[in-house]
Amino acid sequence: MNTRNLMMNPILWIAVVFAALTFAWLGQGAPVNLITQIAIYTLYGAGVNLLVGYTGLVPFGASVFFGCASYITAFLLLGPVRQDIMALVLTILFSLVLAAALGALILRRRGLYFSLLTLACSQIAFEVAYKWTAVTGGENGLQGVPRTSFGTEMQFHIFALVTVVAGMWFLWRLAHAPFGRVLQAVRDNEQRASSLGYNTYLVKLGGFVIMAGIVGFAGGLLTLMLQGVYANNLGWQRAGDSLLMTVLGGVHHFLGPLWGAIAFIILENRLSAITENWWLIFAPIIIAFALLSPEGMQGLVQRALKRERWTLTRNTIPARPAVIKPYESAGQAMDPNKPILETRKLNKSFGSLVTAHDIDLSVRPFVLHSIIGPNGAGKTTFYNMLTGVLPPSAGQILFEGKDITRLPMYARARLGISRSFQILSIFPNLSVFENVRVAVQAQRHGALGFITDAHDLEALNERTWSILDAVGLADRAAEPCMNLPHGAKRLLEIAVTLAIDSKLLLLDEPLAGLAEADRHVVAELIRSLSKKHAVLLIEHDIDRVLAISERISVLHQGRMIADGKPAEVARNPEVIAAYLGAAKGAEKAPPAVERAAHAAGKVLLEAKGIAVGYGGSTVLNGVDLVVHEGEAVALLGRNGVGKTTTLRALTGTLPLDAGTLSFEGADLGALKPYEINRLGIALVPEGRRLFPNLTVIENLQIAARPGGLSIEECFALFPRLRTRQKAQAENLSGGERQMVAIARALVVPSKLILLDEPFEGLAPAVVEEVMAALVKLRGKVAMVIVEHHAETVLPIVDRAMVLVNGKVAFAGDAGMLERDHALQAKLLGVVQADETVAA
């Protein structure tokens, strides 16, 4: 180890700080007890931080282990065991057992419930300690606990320092060991860790038990230091102490608990010499830190040094090998003629809603197989059944001939089924290398290993480098995942998917939110992976799917309506109808409306070159949009092209990355959603978003303002709502909900209404009813209607705009687009690009 490495070793820091404090105190002739206490609380805080910082669980009552352990040590020493070191060992054992029992119950609950349950445990323990005077001494506690091995304060002090440093050493090793690294993966993304094959419940339980062992040891030391034990360490106000110290020092820093304990205990000591009321000074300090420096004291220093990063582990990665071994797939030996995945009559229904109906699918190795389907086709449901997120209502799923219908997610992962996520699902606070490595570890090593550094497991490193190289991320391996551009994150998502020795890759919209250049890179990667694996791809970018797939299955309304080669599928009339609407042939004549020429009217809304995205991704890229007074505009496009995102930008819920937005000349850029609504823009959101716990009339009353339609007028527009006005919104049918959602936008004095897929999921009769209402509104108020079925909406609008991959591909007269079926098919349908050219 060279000097720099030595400098960076936090264990050395701890030892030096403790030694320095000890000498400083001895120099002043002050009692060394205070420093012993700091050491004990450092370990206590570090134990708690194993859950908070490393595992992402917030125990508000870790004091239950600290307090119980301190009593156990006292009982043992006053009773059967008259040897202090033996008593400490037994205390640790007791804490481990107690934590295993409590944790097994409590960890079944998450989030806030977990925090409150731990608090309840500590309160029960407090009440017992406080009230069971015969055993615990009640308010007075127990005194005269013998310290058999240590004659002087100093001897005990040294013992405490040495064991605390040893404990910290163990925690530091643990943080880098296979188990500790899984804890951090669970903290960042529990669902992903589970999908990689980790049993996250057991992992968290393991972390919980280790925490209790550490905290319990600290509790035992405190008893020896005080030579007594008191109930107040269990009280609700002390329950938060260890957490406060840790947060004060910095939860994302290994040394955070050390700085927190020093600040806390020395301040308490100094302040209570001046005033009894030391919280008067200390509480504002904590509040200031919570608001101004959430990363604590160490975070403050690192910010000053311009080195803002977490220091829970070393930020190094293993050396890159001179030659990276080429990536080998676990599925290379698969028989190309045998299907690897099959579903038989797979069904899923939610109440009366059937989202999957008798789906038979068979996926073969080394074939790029895609599933497509319009919105609401049931793709996500189907995918969730394959991955084990949703249990099917009926039917079977076979993998390599074995029934896996009821296997949980992690067990499927272990068999070699690996999934990517539509919404990026990686471990944001780990390095790129560690993201992949922890996934490789899932399959090859598991979660066990508590001392050796996981980065010393050479076989795993080698595999990790191969995968990183295969997706083209080897050069960025050391970067924190958070800093990657969106395209690289998509590649990483796929790399993590590969890492678990998968035979079958289930890829859910891997191109979502990517710019054109990145789409090309990712699509090529998928194509090359399909030579070595079985690949099932779900994707909205139809052009790309048709270009790269070898086989396509089409879902529509929960059924498989086509299955075959891309060219066959693209010609299938049922598929064309599913994408373009059932208008052709089906005699559901939309209300014939004379198209008014609104285009000459006053400009109401104008968007110029707007660009919007989510956390670094680009969804809209330079979109222009104009809406005139009283004009109806259809905003069309296939799934996932940015239609809803456009509306989010218009309503102020997503900030603009570029471009300008104005409404009647007023700039919307800096306005809050409620201010935009008050200017006269109302939204009928996707999924309706009614308030389920309010009645129909209350849903309307909440939005109503003078100048909008009266509720009576709304009932005139939707007579059906009059009879349902007292019903809770959660009990309405889909059609009724849509009517309420539209009415809710009308009771506002709005000049422009934005409707997001107003016909989605409605029965044909209801569609007509809603459409009739929209026709009545036409001309009175401007409308932007988002739709993916052009045929449905084109007859009732003046102008149309088509988005393709975040850009405007067509803007013009609705009638023209309605007549031009070839153009519709090209922009909205399922047509292979080269075929259109040929035609």
Binding site: Y113, I124, I286, P673
Partner: protein
Amino acid sequence: MLDMIISQAVNGLILGFLYVLIAIGLSIIFGMLGIVNFAHGSFFAIGAYLALVLARDFGWPAALLSPLIVGLIGMIVEKTLIRHLYGKEPLLGLILTFALALLAEALLRLIFGGAPIPFSPPRFLAGFIEYGPILITKYRMFVLAVTVLALISFWAFLRFTRFGRIIRAGSRDAEMVGLLGINLPIVLSGVFGIGCLLAGLAGMLAGPLWTVIPSMAAGAIMPAFVIVTIGGLGSYSGAIIAGLLVGLTTAMSIQFFPAWSGAAMYVLMAVILLIRPRGLFGERWERFE
């Protein structure tokens, strides 16, 4: 024996309704703002101290101002501190409100000293009501009446007023409330203020019943947490039933197992949560999981 059970039951009921008042405030703050307010007990304590001072210096009717002042303090706290926590890590909210609770207790200690201060009910509420073998102080009956009235009015407020509708709607989808043209930041201050007002009211009422002492906050916040968790996050009827359950359990255990009275409600909570993970009436709300 039966008399004893009945009068303890009445005591439990009174205790339970007071707890409900505190818990409801905690619950709406939690539902709308997503903040676990550890300082909620402090507003209860401040309510008691304010009522005591106002009654002592200006006569008992002035004490009625105490809940309003507490509500106002709550709004100021939301505007200056709590506001900055929306959308941040929940841990920060826990820590900040916890520190706030300790600060409030220290302030009370500084101003009023650590010793309990006697606070007697107004003269016209002194004395007992006798009903058969049951003997209850007039003041307790008064507290029962006021808490029940307050809960009914608050329920009506939530149910029938515009602001009440906004609170109910916002607890499910706050963003959508903003999209309907409602000034969300002001609503959030208002909700925090109202929650604190209820705690202050409970403090004012509890003052003469319990001991007015800086540490009384803990006696309010812990039962409130337990009630909110047992009743199910965000459920009004759940909070009432859970509150009465906790009140009765506590009162009965004081009578029959005094040593266990402190732990009784936690045991109740642990058992209920293990059987019904989201409490008696809790629905699945993603943001609390």
